[in-house]
Amino acid sequence: MSRAVLTLYALFLYLPIVVVALFSFNDSELMAFPLAGFTLRWYSALAGNAAFLHGFVTSFLIAQPVGVLGAAFGLAAALAVTSEHMRWRLGFAALVMIPFLVPKSVLSIAQAMLMSRVGLPRGALALILAQTLVVIPFTTALIAAVLVRLDKKLEEAARDLGATPWQSFRLVLLPQIKPALSGAYSVGVILSLGDLTISMFLAGRTQPLSLMVASEFRRELRPDLNAMQVVVLALTAVVLAVSEVYRRRRARVRRGRSVAAAAAVVEAVQ
């Protein structure tokens, strides 16, 4: 019963993606059913498209710092929000959620107005910072969800044995949350690659892939755009898969590691 329900929902959630993939292999200029036969020509057309490759490199280079900064800010926010000493916990959580709840277009327009008023240029840097801001609510939730489930006693033990806060963080806490950090990094990369709204207002002369695609297909649908979308989705899936494999591998060795880490702390402070 619930298996059937889940299958139906998966069909709904994945239907659009499957249709795009189907047409990327369809041997016809027209995107219409019935399908006309199998071809790889849309992919080979893509490989020779210098503008696409340039757009993709731009998107990729912007996504890397967004992933790293998003994970770093998410870690700081998650550590703060789960800390026992935190005052105004609810207020801080609400502040961090603002970039999630305020529509991205309103936020980007407000940022663009403020930046042009005080004379800051739009471009890659503005785009990276604005995307990081929108990523923070996701990474904070992801890392905080792991932090609240950790065994507090390991950290207390490290502190009792004389470890400084930095030592207990690096040797006890960090090994346990590395999978969450890599997950946060990939969420940042993926949201950055998929973003169009923020890019529209803040990219300046920078041309990420999503902007190029948007300007191309406002005019018409073309089959090589399908191939492009499939490539982007496939790369997204690779990022997800790599971080998932990494997470599982870490999860398996985690228990052993934290014991080893506790031992290392004992050694370090003696």
Binding site: R3, L15, A32, S83, H85, M86, V96, P103, I136, V232
Partner: protein, 279 residues
């Protein structure tokens, strides 16, 4: 110096990057534009125009309506999904989470583009309907209509609602539902009298988030909604870019935000009362 102090750099970044630009909107909304230059002033012109121009109020109302529709459709669709996810064996829950969240990672543009392939006159749905003989002519209202906007907003936000409900359902004591069933409640009764009231906070959180997200969307309505796709967002964009009327753009943006958070909070409260009242 404790972990709590790490809130400072994050607070500073979010404050400068998000709160400051939103606050500056208040300042810009009372400035005047003179000869294509924004000049400091204290003019209520934009605010008066906001409350006296029917098309602005209409667009804000429309944003609230599409947000409310999305909140309703995602809650109706979200409960069966979240219940099914909560019944998965523990080993499969991680897989369920990945499958639920992966569609969120497809770029905005990919999703919009895909709906055009699914719903167009020569798209998947029409091809299936024609082939099965259900209709003689392609159904036109599937694409570029209010229906398309509602469908896209539901699709984009269903994972968020399902996640909020799933987390809430996981916290419900299974024994309470079993007790209700043992005492003769049918599954629907057990859901309405036990599960729904106990998951009211999750429902309220989901309604608030989905309402705010859906009401603030600009791209899906404008690229899929056809002539019905005019949104307050697109109007703000237009006032900001083409018309260079920053005071009006600021006032409209703030009016929209006030409506989003006001109506969103009211809906979330109503959802928690509605679900809670059945206890």
């Amino acid at each position: 110096m404790t972990r709590a102090h790490l809130a400072l750099p994050v607070g500073l970044f979010v404050g400068l990057g998000a709160v400051a630009p939103l606050l500056v909107l208040f300042v810009f909304s009372v400035f005047v534009v003179d000869d294509f230059e924004l000049k400091p002033a204290f003019s209520p012109r934009a605010w008066i125009e906001l409350v006296t121009t029917p098309s602005y109020l209409f667009l804000i109302g429309k944003a609230a309506l599409s947000g409310a529709v999305a909140a309703l459709t995602t809650s109706l669709l979200g409960y069966p999904l979240a219940l099914a996810l909560a019944r998965l064996p523990p080993a499969w829950k991680g897989v369920g989470l990945v499958v639920l969240l992966t569609p969120l990672y497809t770029g905005e543009i990919v999703r919009i583009y895909a709906w055009r392939l699914v719903l167009g006159s020569e798209g998947l749905v029409n091809a299936a309907l024609l082939a099965s003989g259900t209709v003689a002519q392609p159904v036109k209202w599937l694409l570029f209509s209010p229906f398309t906007t509602a469908l896209a907003l539901t699709y984009n936000n269903l994972p968020f609602m399902a996640l909020a409900l799933w987390v809430a359902i996981e916290r419900v004591d299974r024994r309470l539902i079993e007790a209700a069933r043992d005492l003769g409640a049918r599954p629907l009764q057990a859901f309405l009298k036990v599960t729904l009231p106990l998951t009211a906070p999750g429902l309220a959180a989901g309604v608030f988030a989905v309402f705010a997200l859906a009401a603030g969307e600009m791209l899906s309505p404008s690229l899929l909604g056809g002539t019905s796709g005019q949104t307050a967002m697109a109007m703000i964009d237009n006032l900001f870019g083409t018309a260079f009327d920053w005071p009006m753009a600021s006032a409209l943006a703030l009016g929209l935000l006030a409506c989003l958070f006001g109506v969103g909070a009211a809906l979330a409260f109503a959802a928690s009362r509605f679900a809670g009242a059945r206890a």
